[in-house]
Amino acid sequence: MRQEPPLTSFKLHPAWIPYRFGIAMKEFVFAAFLISFLFRHLSIPLFSWYGYTLLGSFILVRLIGLVLQWKHFTYQLKEQELLIEKGAFVTEKKQIPYERIQGITEYESLFHRVTGLTSLVIETGSTDSDADVRLEMLSKQEATHIKEQIESIVTRQHDPQALPEVATTMLAPNPEQYAIQFKEIALASLTSLSPLFFFFLLYSVYQELSRFLELDDIVSSLVTFSTQSNVMRVAMIGLLIILALSYGVFRNYRLYAGFRIDTNQRSIQIEKGWESVTRFSIPKDRIQALTMRSRFIHQLLGISQVKMISSIDPEQQDKNTSAVLFPFIRRSKALDLIPKILPDFQVAPRTLPIPKQAVVVKLCRTILLWAGVPICLWFMFPNLRLLAVLICFTVITSQILSRRFSTYTTSPTVLHFHQGGLAPLTYWMRRDGIERLELSESYVQQRLGLASVTVTLHATPAKEVRIMDVPIDWAKQCQRWYIEGHNPEVQK
């Protein structure tokens, strides 16, 4: 039943050397700067015999290093682990057990497209920068082979019932589950704050250019030109707004163009990109939680962003991973799609409200914010009294709204929590992804029969979600749900 994995070791495509050389170009420019600086001090002209030799030898050493690195780099798909050998002068062996692989990213830049090759980054979810494995410049067949190999091995480990034959047919990607449309990007960008970034861009461009050029004259003549008549003024403002809006659309288009999601039985793949394409795939059971939030006007339009929480740190640079599941999606569509894509995340049909008496606890908790700060402001800065009233009013309103609109519930697999109020945020947390669960009751909460549940998610960085002021009975039920593994609602 178990097919023997090939034990031969593979090398990367020779195009790896020019690819890495291209990336190293930045270093050469930097080295050239350094050398020219040095030479100016020694008063030797840069474009002389010395200059060429120094720069040439620098490039040569780097090139030899790259050739050696390529020569020594091999990978091997063993039964239990991925074995990598690498190094330029000092070689090392690295073993990555398959169960530690959190996700695979496939990345294609322009250079990849020209050569018809692709790169794989294998995430291990460790915070160490050396922890991920890069298999750069692979042929497409090799890449799919590796991906399938790893996925089928992991599938077999997790699900002994699934026969390998069945597993491979299931691994064939289904037709796409979701693809972003240009009008979605456009609508979402136009109603968000991203057009404002145009003015930051304009300002930073101005700053950069004014180092080299005398821009002030041009700017002032532009200003006088455009304020000649009312028609000109309106036209200029209109032009600026149009530019800003199109920049906002462009900015999001760059991020999310071609965004689509494919799924199979065990993992989901997120593809995106415009000039360079990335395909990020993650096993479904490594997704510990989902969040859904909407900002500003998006809330009124019902557009929200859905993100995944997993052990892969999305903040880490240069990784091309994606934490975003749906960049801009109608809330109803998201609620419809999530259970289809991730069957673990079944949306509960009925949610529970936070009891009325919770307002008391909430107001006690924030007493410093709505009473302390405004009173201090009122007496110490008489000219800021309006601000004091405003702060008091906002804090109290937000507490009341958060009581009124927060909901929570459990389903057999997920803990659902919706934090209502001024900045609504919904969490779906898988039971297996919860590292610990804390129930806490302050003195006031005990009096009113309330409790707070704090959940720590198994993610990088560790994430805590706090469900405040729920009835103590439900909190106890939630504890039982967490450990005993059945739904308290059903039990009741």
Partner: protein
Amino acid sequence: MYELKEPTQTISKDAIKVWRLTEALVSTAVLIGLIGLLFVDTYYQWSSWIGIVLYVLMAVTIISALIECTVLPVYRQKTWRYEIDAKCIQLKHGAFMRTHLIIPIEKIYFVKTSQGPLSKQYGLATVKIGTIGYVHDIPFLPLAQATEITQRITALSDRTSRKERADATGTAPDFL
């Protein structure tokens, strides 16, 4: 069928003494430091507000030391409960601010006991339970009990990981 039990196990009575002693030592050290600073302050004639701040700090230290040495250790010891069973570890403490933490056995990465010089005097040890993100303490248990708990948790987590492995290979787990 499994049912989540309310935690009942208590920590050692000697914990009160250890907490008191530790607090007394720490407060004395802080006080000595503050008095030293006060001397330097008067000797070099620093600006007056530094002296005021030092007196306030000293007052705060003394008050907190008084509370920490009298009521607080008793309150802590009396309210601390823990429970270990096949599925999870429960840690519960506090009365005015009650917290009840549940850690499933399969999320535990390591268990160890640790002994400071003071707890050694009373033959006590603290059990440290590490998950991926955090380390949790069960403070001041008699040494023998702490070792026993550590071994029990290790055995339990071994069993859960063995179960996972058994699940993966498709064979029936041997302990059922």
